[in-house]
């Protein structure tokens, strides 16, 4: 495989896999026998969310993540393509910061999804 990158899954014993960077990680990893959660397969839900610990990912189609989730390192494996070797935590064990009760912890304006987020006053 030309230009293959190595994906390491930290919370599954550090297992590593060579994948094609042009393909979404969910498809690549499932093809190599990794059992992962998923739902919509187009970046619109967060069932397949994983946490990126090291490396770089292209996930332009991941419209379901808000800026807070992005800052916390979440990637949607169904549309994420690796731009380098990456280390990930996968599955619901990686979802400690993914879910939030909005009445207990409301989002700040700059933490919303990209299409509606605004910068805080002081940095405008």
């Amino acid at each position: 495989m030309t230009g293959a990158v190595t994906i390491t899954i930290a919370n599954r014993g550090g297992a590593s896999f060579l994948v094609d960077p042009k393909k979404p990680l969910l498809a690549s990893l499932e093809a190599q026998g990794v059992s992962l959660p998923y739902g919509c397969k187009y970046g619109g839900c967060i069932t397949c969310a994983a946490k990126l610990l090291h490396g770089e990912i292209d996930q332009q189609a991941a419209v379901a993540l808000n800026n807070k989730q992005l800052r916390d390192g979440y990637v949607l494996l169904c549309v994420a393509r690796p731009k380098s070797d990456c280390t990930l935590d996968v599955g619901v064990d990686s979802h400690d910061k993914l879910y939030r009760n909005p009445f207990a912890e409301p989002l700040k304006q700059d933490e919303l999804k990209a299409d509606i987020a605004t910068q805080p006053e002081e940095t405008r």
């Binding site: 059992s35 992962l36 959660p37 998923y38 739902g39 919509c40 397969k41 187009y42 619109g44 839900c45 967060i46 069932t47 419209v63 379901a64 993540l65 808000n66 599955g91 619901v92 064990d93 979802h95 993914l98 879910y99 939030r100 009760n101 909005p102 009445f103 207990a104 409301p106 989002l107 304006q109 919303l112 999804k113 509606i116």
Partner: protein, 450 residues
């Protein structure tokens, strides 16, 4: 009175109320979002109190794939086909909201052990109609229509999928969405040539979970649409505003002559009533559930009315406050002036009923289904995987559950049954979560009378 007709369902709501008691329940159960990599499934529950397996799951039909998020479902035929001897209430159409797959399940050949008959692939639906995220299923005589909440990319407003009785895709049902911004539930009342549809949000908004701030950014619905049913076109739209944020379940009176109906506005936690007055559709807010202050949270907690239903005789309206934890019964004999007649508590975030009859309740009262005679209300606790994970994260370990509430149809009042409890935390593949329930003979949210 013997029923002379030979099609499915019943001649009238009054006839439906005389039907034999439900002995089996079909409930969907999900593993999406739980961490258990297993398919969602249709659970069959024994509801016959004389049976040895009463209040137990007696069979499980797994879907072929993982990640569907089964949610709502509907019959291929209901009382709207009552005069059609060619039709039979045989198949449940069980959509996956996330996958857009439609599972056609044969519940008639062996009602205790339903079998998969056919699958309509979500990709096929997207390719043919540019629609995704199937939700409510109703039959229209021999046709089937399904509300679809998004386009193929998960953006609103979605539309309506039209299937024939053999489950072939006919295309989009509607001719004109008007200014409809979102889609969710719908119900039709043919004698008034009307369909009413409500608004949740686009799949890309609600599927990842609930961000309160997105309501203010108009990512969630606040309008109600009145359709010319024959023309399949939105005729009039009511802007409900702050009184009607996120209007969900739509229920007309079962009486086909009546123009009265109700919708629950989930976030505003109001019940909106509509009716036709001298040819014009009118609406009003008839119930307002106050927000409650949680001692540790900055934002007051709404009840979150995620379901409503009407008894078959149109006398009682039931709804759940999923976040507060109460189920309410109102006498709506005067639909303009509902009277609270019963209230029970189970689960919820206010800590009022963590235990019910010795059982720990995780989640709050959510989906409800009422027996045709109006006396037994079956209640499940899970709303939607991502929303569960936000509000009730411990449901991952504990699973959902189903309870039965006995309803006094004479004087009003409710109490939670001590003998019926289905614990989905103890399922063979691990804790799952249950949502909508239906019975083989039809129920209070499945049948429409022509």
């Amino acid at each position: 009175m013997p029923d002379e007709c030979c099609g499915p369902g019943y001649a009238s709501p009054a006839a439906a109320m005389q039907a034999p008691r439900e002995k089996l329940l079909y409930t969907i159960a999900i593993y999406v979002g739980t961490g258990i990599e297993k398919p969602d499934y249709l659970a069959t529950i024994d509801a016959d109190p004389d049976s040895a397996t009463y209040s137990k799951v007696i069979s499980r039909l797994e879907m072929p794939g993982i990640g569907d998020e089964l949610h709502h479902m509907g019959w291929n035929a209901c009382s709207s086909c009552h005069d059609d001897a060619e039709m039979e209430r045989k198949f449940l159409i069980v959509p996956g909201v996330r996958s857009s797959n439609l599972h056609i399940v044969d519940c008639a050949t062996d009602p205790r052990n339903p079998k998969l008959h056919k699958i309509i692939d979500g990709a096929e639906i997207k390719a043919a109609t540019n629609l995704s995220a199937p939700h409510t299923v109703h039959c229209l005589r021999s046709d089937i229509i399904i509300s679809m909440l998004g386009d193929a990319q998960g953006n609103p407003p979605g539309g309506f999928l039209h299937l024939d009785k053999d489950f072939n895709i006919l295309g989009r049902w509607e001719n004109d969405l008007g200014g409809m911004k979102f889609n969710y539930d719908f119900w039709y009342q043919p004698r008034h040539n009307v369909m009413v549809s409500s608004e949740w949000a686009g799949p890309n908004t609600f599927m990842p979970g609930f961000d309160l701030e997105e309501v203010g950014h108009l990512k969630y619905g606040r309008e109600l649409h009145f359709w010319d049913f024959e023309k399949k076109a939105v005729k009039e739209t009511f802007y409900l505003g702050e009184d009607g944020l996120v209007p969900l379940e739509v229920r007309f009176h079962h009486d086909p002559d009546s123009s009265h109906g109700f919708v629950g506005a989930a976030l505003s936690s109001n019940i909106i009533h509509w009716w036709k007055d001298d040819g014009d559709w009118k609406w009003e807010k008839v119930i307002d559930v106050s927000n409650e202050k949680h001692p540790e949270w900055p934002i007051p907690l709404p009840g979150m009315i995620t379901v409503i239903l009407l008894s078959m005789d149109d006398k009682y309206l039931y709804f759940c406050n999923w976040l507060h934890g109460d189920i309410r019964q109102y006498d709506i004999s005067d639909p303009h002036n509902p009277v609270l007649t019963g209230q029970v508590w189970m689960g919820g975030l206010l800590g009022k009923a963590p235990l019910v009859n010795g059982h720990k309740i995780t989640g709050g009262p959510q989906m409800i289904q009422l027996s045709l005679d109006g006396k037994r209300l079956y209640v499940t606790t899970s709303l939607f995987s991502t929303w569960d994970n936000q509000f009730y994260p411990e449901i991952r370990e504990n699973g959902g559950c189903m309870v039965m509430v006995n309803c006094d149809t004479e004087n009003g009042g409710m109490d939670i049954d001590e003998d019926f409890f289905v614990d989905f935390g103890k399922e063979p593949n691990g804790p799952s979560r249950c949502h909508e329930t239906r019975y083989p003979g039809g129920d209070c949210t499945s049948d429409i009378f022509l």
